[in-house]
Amino acid sequence: MALDKTGIAKRIAQELQNGWYVNLGIGIPTLVANYIPEGIDVEFQSENGVLGMGQFPLEEEVDADLINAGKQTITVKKGASFFDSAMSFAMIRGQHVQLTVLGAMEVSQNGDIANWKIPGKMVKGMGGAMDLVASAENIIVAMMHSNKAGESKILKECTLPLTGVGCVKKVVTELAVMEIKDGAFHLIERAPGVSVEEIISKTEGKLIVPDQVPEMKI
């Protein structure tokens, strides 16, 4: 059965490694923080200027001066730090953040990502996404395999304006975990009960399928 958003977040959380600083985008990526594996110590950075984000505040803890990049009120853990936007992106651009997880509207088989603009329609802007994807060593995209019209978002080439080129290393959808390398998606896991055939049929980009495709363990 295809994963729900929580399932995608749980699967991505398995990628976390001890000692990593991690930037989580808005939406599904934010949920990853709820499923940090036992024994793994990571710190969350938010590009508006905080390191060491904690959980959401209790009602009485809410502070208008303390938000994340999604403009949600947050708290911080012991050992947190605040800094300005130039310092924040120095961390990101300088590759001090080991993992970036973000959503996407389209991903292509050479690792291009489009997630900021639909010409003539949606013009919200890229925020920090272009800096993040151009800089991070590890970028995992959390997304749905297809759009509402049923068209694949796992493509040969992106059709929307790009956010970054050749940067996505891994994609986790409701159906599959795929690595991107050598100009192709490599299927490495499928969602529990989802068939390889379904993934193939919903993937427009070049998909390399090994003999054995294990099910994700969520």
Binding site: S46, E47, N48, G49, V50, Q55, F56, P57, L58, E59, E61, V62, D63, A64, D65, L66, I67, N68, A69, G70, K71, Q72, T73, I74, F82, F83, D84, S85, A86, S88, F89, I92, R93, D112, G120, V123, K124, G125, M126, G127, G128, A129, M130, D131, A134, S135, P161, L162, T163, G164, V165, G166
Partner: protein, 229 residues
């Protein structure tokens, strides 16, 4: 060197139609509320505003958009504002969208006398159009130029009479870099204290960058996404 002005009216003297303004804040967090209200009152027009966001429909820079005081916005993210989207799609408003890190660094560069720098952000995207590309360490980068403003208007938590500023939590965001990049920098603060009150070890923005400082009359500090557990 005393930088104190009486009030927001005095703080914004000299702002005229057609000027370029930097406005601190991220979303509605750390924005100079009192100065924005005064800009609405002054009804200065044809402004170019450099600000990470454009506020919401009825708060922050959204207030200037409602009055059509802004000719051009230079921002990284402008969601959360329907009037903005309408003006942009209709062509009434010129919008220059810039990656957030490049925006921050371009402001800092403007204040720091660095006319241009290379960054990987935006390479291969429409942001790179018309910009020089150069490969460093095997990775393509684009050349981005510094930004400056006629006035930079920032909001701080505490400030002293010499213009030294201290910010609170994530309300710091773009304020320090913009303070560096204004020909005239105006700081509105929640609390104005005498020189010598703030610890010189822990000044976020040294007073040298601030020309005018005043204590804001009222801070609503609206929250965009009140999220609790």
């Amino acid at each position: 060197m005393n930088k104190v002005v009486k009030n927001v009216e005095e703080a914004l003297i000299g702002i005229q139609d057609g000027m370029t303004l930097m406005i601190g804040g991220f979303g509605l967090c750390g924005i100079p509320e009192n100065s924005i209200a005064q800009l609405v009152k002054l009804n200065v027009r044809d402004l170019t505003c450099i600000s990470n966001n454009a506020g919401v429909d009825d708060f922050g820079l959204g207030l200037l958009l409602q009055q059509k005081q802004i000719k051009k916005m230079i921002s990284s993210y402008v969601g959360e504002n329907a009037e903005f989207e309408r003006q942009m799609l209709s062509g009434e408003l010129i919008v220059d969208l810039i990656p957030q890190g490049s925006l921050a660094e371009r402001c800092r560069a403007g204040g720091a006398g660095i006319p241009a720098f290379f960054t990987p952000a935006g390479y291969g995207t429409e942001v790179a159009e018309g910009k020089e590309v150069r490969v460093f360490n095997g990775k393509p980068h684009i050349l981005e130029e510094a930004l400056t403003a006629d006035y930079a208007i920032v909001k701080a938590w505490k400030g002293d009479t010499e213009g030294n500023l201290v910010f609170k939590a994530t309300a710091r965001n773009f304020n320090p870099m913009m303070a560096m990049a204004g020909k005239i920098t105006v700081a509105e603060v929640e609390e104005l204290v005498p020189a010598g009150t703030l610890d010189p070890n822990f000044i976020h923005t040294p007073g040298i960058f601030v020309q005018r400082i005043f204590q804001g009359q009222k801070f609503e500090k609206r929250i965009e996404q009140r999220t609790t557990r």
